[in-house]
């Protein structure tokens, strides 16, 4: 039996406004418990919400970035339920009239092709606080610092068909949100969270299977693993003649399984109704236009530009524009070395490999874009060879020296002096009589070996093309 997964994602991103959604309190990550909660955040009697217009603007920005219809008349609603970290006893969210309507984003699949994933809607809502269970014995603590933080919940259409696609979708969302600078979107800190709806069906069937929802997954890798694990679980159940229960599950990353949290049948009736403390939000065309003008160059457009302006492959352009930080870094490198292709090779190759190995993000890269640009310039002006450049690059990781200082101090400057190279070449000819004969007999590939010997003798500093030319001259 061939099974097909149907996956929809609900992604929450915390909007990086200076203050909360409905109160003037700051909302910085990591502050001491309850130091960022005012009378409104504590739901003191008589307090009222006032919409943070910055949050609205960020939502509209996102909507425009995914080509969505913008709700010109959006309405906040109360979603009622009791929980200690929900001070008012209701969450203010948008039910029927969200700020962002239907839109879409395009993702790149493994085979390089593009797929468009529909976004149903994105609505603004407030975050809940946090319950602290470990700090107290027999009691729970409540931290309301997070309560009332603005969130944007982005709901996808169930158009994702594999775990890999889900990750590609998430990464693309992450990239867009970062490009727009509307959220830190750090999954490990919870400023980007993901709920996954998964169901399976026989390939070719139209009817959707019963879905389960996996809540609060906090890394790209776990999203992939959780989906794979859940689809396998569902397949086993169905193939054994069972049926899927619609329920909420959680992913246990240590055991790599999903476990049941609660069944939907006994789910809350949230008794939504329009929030009477807030007026409907009305925005007009000129407001939307003004935000449109503030939009930065978005990933897809930047990718196209990189392909044409820098003559890069689709793949390289995709990697380089996958995050704004990489794209910006790359463009600084290009500016300094004036060689877009070499720059692309270095950034997508050595640089990303090094960051990956050291588990660093680009912002804390030990090699600055200006230095990498300079390094590539030194290859181009033949001060060093490409091979020596790698040595310089490795040295830069652990030192505060500039590229030129490293080359100078380590004596890595390429030997271009003809007399010195002639000396080297003569030595190689003397030491390798057999290979010299082979070359004379027309075995061209031996040339590479001889060049290599010369390079070894020079400790890599000789200019390889000069060596090669001279060898040919002397031998033929």
């Amino acid at each position: 039996m061939v099974w097909e997964s149907v996956i929809g994602l609900e992604v929450h991103v915390s909007l990086s406004t200076a203050s909360k959604l409905f109160s003037g309190t700051a909302s910085n990550f990591g502050a001491d418990p309850n130091t960022q909660a005012n009378v409104f955040d504590l739901a003191m009697p008589g307090t009222l919400p006032v919409l943070n217009e910055e949050a609205l603007k960020m939502a509209v920005k996102f909507g425009l970035a995914i080509g969505a219809q913008i709700g010109k008349h959006s309405v906040f609603d109360r979603k009622n339920y009791f929980y200690p970290d929900l001070p008012k006893g209701y969450q203010v969210t948008q039910l029927d009239f969200p700020t962002v309507g239907k839109g879409s984003i395009s993702i790149t699949l493994e085979d390089g092709s593009e797929k468009v994933i529909g976004i149903t809607r994105a609505h603004i809502e407030e975050n809940a606080g946090k319950s602290l269970h470990d700090e107290f014995s027999n009691e729970s603590g409540i931290d309301l610092n997070r309560a009332g933080e603005p969130l944007l919940e982005i709901v996808s259409e169930p158009e994702i068909t594999s775990a890999k696609e889900a990750v590609a979708y998430l990464k693309k969302l992450h990239s867009i949100v970062r490009y727009l600078d509307i959220s830190d979107a750090i999954m490990a800190q919870g400023s980007m969270r993901c709920d996954v709806n998964v169901s399976i069906r026989k390939q070719g069937e139209n009817k959707l299977g019963t879905r389960t929802e996996i809540k609060n997954i906090n890394s790209f890798r776990f999203v992939e693993k959780a989906i794979n694990s859940e689809t396998e679980r569902q397949q086993e159940i169905i193939e054994d003649g069972g049926s899927i229960t619609q329920e909420t599950r959680r992913y246990d990353s240590t055991k790599d399984i999903t476990t049941s949290m609660r069944s939907k049948e006994i789910a809350n009736d949230y008794r939504y109704f329009p929030e009477p403390d807030l007026l409907p939000v009305k925005i007009d065309e000129s407001y939307i236009k003004s935000i449109e003008q503030e939009l930065p160059e978005l990933p897809d457009i930047k990718k196209d530009r990189f392909m044409t302006e820098y003559q890069l492959s689709t793949y390289d352009s995709g990697v380089l524009t996958s995050s704004l930080e990489i794209a910006d870094y790359y463009e600084i490198v290009v500016k300094h070395c004036q060689d877009s292709k070499l720059a692309a090779n270095w950034v997508t190759g050595n640089l990303l490999a090094m960051l990956n190995q050291l588990e660093l993000d680009l912002a804390s890269s030990p090699v600055r874009a200006e230095d990498l640009g300079c390094l590539i310039s030194r290859i181009k002006d033949k001060t060093i060879s490409g091979k020596i450049a790698k040595t310089v690059f490795d040295t830069l990781i652990n030192s505060n020296l500039s590229v030129d200082e490293v080359i100078e101090q380590k004596g890595l400057k390429q030997v271009t002096d003809t007399a010195a190279i002639e000396e080297l070449v003569m030595q190689v000819i003397d030491e390798n009589p057999d290979q010299v004969i082979q070359l004379r007999e027309g075995k061209e590939q031996v040339l590479g070996y001889l060049v290599g010997q010369a390079m070894k003798l020079s400790q890599g500093k000789a200019n390889p093309s000069q060596v090669s030319q001279l060898l040919k001259l002397k031998i033929q």
Binding site: M44, G46, T47, L48, N80, Y272, F273, D277
Partner: protein, 485 residues
């Protein structure tokens, strides 16, 4: 001196006839003497009041002209006051001290008014008789066996019994106007959004509105000049510019077109109230006004619609009283659910619980369209009725309540109690201003007349009420010293 209006006291203070400290002291003494019998105040704040009064006296001596400077005032215990308990008439908030002042309170403090204390009220403003207060019911100063009306019964009784010069109240379905009517005082419910709701403990957010309870329309205008206006802390407060409410008090009523809704003179209206209102209409005619009948065909739907919308909003507004952060918490909860259930079962009174249940039911999945949605549609119809009526008339006049104050403990059927507000509720649903002023007596109990205006036409209502009070003496009548006992 204590029976004087704010306008009169203001003059007396400025002419040094009396000081604010003397005046405040006198009110506090009278409160101490009679509060046990009337139960109008939940909290008095003598020390703070005298401090404010002494500061006011200094400012008066410095020539400050603010008309409320040094005037002793009472706040309904629904307004949050820093350093003074705010109970909202509930066990849930019995010992609650707000860390901040309501906008209306801070505005009045700034104007130099002297806070005598916090007045009794129906629990969370849910009631028409003041009998749902956790702190016991207020007694009507005209007859202590009668209710003062509700929910702002404490404020109305305090003004009537001269236990303050003026008071604040709130009105969600008639809670300023009906007690004003029962206690023989003036009570104005402004248009929705005219006065900030910041710091006013929410009952039904889309209906709640604060306003003055006073000894005259002129006093109500003086208070409105301080409390009305937009507030950045209340998104629903109106940006419509405020006017000087005292400016047009003396405009002639010649040519005024008064509409009398036939639905306000039907079965259920007691004869003494009807007669009193008819006589008042004659007074208006003498002042040059013309009277025509108007039709409010959907008025009978207002009570049912209100008892869906208001409890629905209340059911969510009161969710915050969960025992987690402040207020009452049950003893020794065994777990979270136990804490929620017992805190709310023990902390709320039966009327509050009834309305939370009605509201929760009305918002439930499967019932929302039939109840909440439908009630909202009715609300629009009711607004349309008023809009149509105001195309031909300037104000609408009728009784505030179908009868005079009823006996304490007499009305036990909640639905019968809800029908007490049959003439006032539609005004809240439509967001309009309404004022109740005394127009006579049924036996020894006051009768109130309601004047309803177009949205933000408070100045017009005050003008009409003031002109009536220039030619009648009803608002000057006082209950007997022994409160009818």
């Amino acid at each position: 001196m204590l029976e004087k209006t704010v306008a009169e006291l203001s003059k007396a203070l400025r002419s040094q006839e009396v000081s604010s400290v003397e005046l405040t002291q006198a009110y506090l003494e009278k409160i101490a003497a009679v509060n046990e019998r009337l139960n109008t105040y939940i909290t008095t704040c003598d020390e703070l009041a005298l401090k404010q009064a002494s500061k006011a006296d200094q400012l008066i001596a410095d020539g400050n002209q603010n008309p409320l400077l040094g005037i002793p005032i009472a706040h309904k215990d629904i307004f949050c006051t820093k350093n003074i308990k705010t109970t909202c008439g509930s066990k849930m908030l019995e010992n609650f001290v707000s860390p901040y002042d309501a906008t209306i309170v801070s505005k009045l403090n700034k104007a130099g008014a002297v806070t005598l204390g916090k007045t009794n009220m129906d629990e969370f403003a849910m009631g028409s008789s003041n009998e749902t207060s956790y702190f016991g019911s207020v007694k009507n100063p005209w007859d202590t066996s009668k209710v003062p009306g509700g929910s702002s019964g404490g404020s109305a009784a305090a003004v009537a019994a001269d236990l303050c010069a003026i008071a604040t109240g709130t009105d969600t379905g008639g809670s300023i106007r009906q007690p004003a009517s029962f206690c023989g005082v003036t009570g104005l419910k402004p248009s929705y959004g005219r006065v900030s709701r910041w710091g006013m403990i929410a009952f039904a957010s889309s209906l709640d509105q604060a306003g003055p309870i006073s000894k005259s329309a002129e006093d109500a205008a003086i208070l409105m000049n301080v409390i009305a206006g937009p507030d950045n802390l209340d998104s629903t407060s109106s940006r419509t510019p405020v006017v000087d409410y005292t400016l047009n008090l003396n405009d002639s009523l010649y040519g005024l077109k008064i509409g009398v809704p036939k639905q306000h003179f039907t079965e259920g209206l007691s004869a003494d109230v009807e007669e009193s209102i008819r006589l008042s209409l004659k007074e208006f005619e003498k002042l040059g006004a013309s009277i025509t009948q108007v039709d409010l065909p959907n008025n009978h739907l207002s009570v049912p619609a209100y008892y869906v919308v208001a409890p629905a909003e209340a059911s969510a507004n009161l969710s915050r009283y969960d025992g987690v952060r402040y207020g009452f918490r049950c003893d020794n909860p065994i777990d979270l659910e136990d804490m929620y259930m017992r805190t709310r079962s023990e902390g709320f009174g039966s009327e509050v619980k009834r309305r939370i249940m009605i509201g929760t039911y009305a918002l439930s999945a499967g019932y929302y369209d039939a109840y909440y949605q439908k009630a909202q549609k009715i609300r629009r119809l009711i607004k349309n009725d008023f809009d149509a009526a105001f195309e031909t008339v300037d104000v609408i006049v009728g009784p505030t309540s179908p009868h005079t104050a009823f006996s304490l403990g007499a009305t036990t059927d909640p639905v019968k109690m809800y029908l007490e507000d049959i003439y006032t509720i539609a005004v809240n649903l439509a967001g309009l201003p309404g004022i109740s002023i005394p127009t006579g007596f049924g036996g020894n109990l006051p009768i109130g007349m309601q004047i309803i205006g177009k949205e933000f036409a408070e100045a017009k209502l005050l003008n009409v009420a003031h002109q009536y009070q220039q030619v009648t003496e009803w608002h000057k009548s006082k209950p007997s010293e022994n409160f009818g006992e």
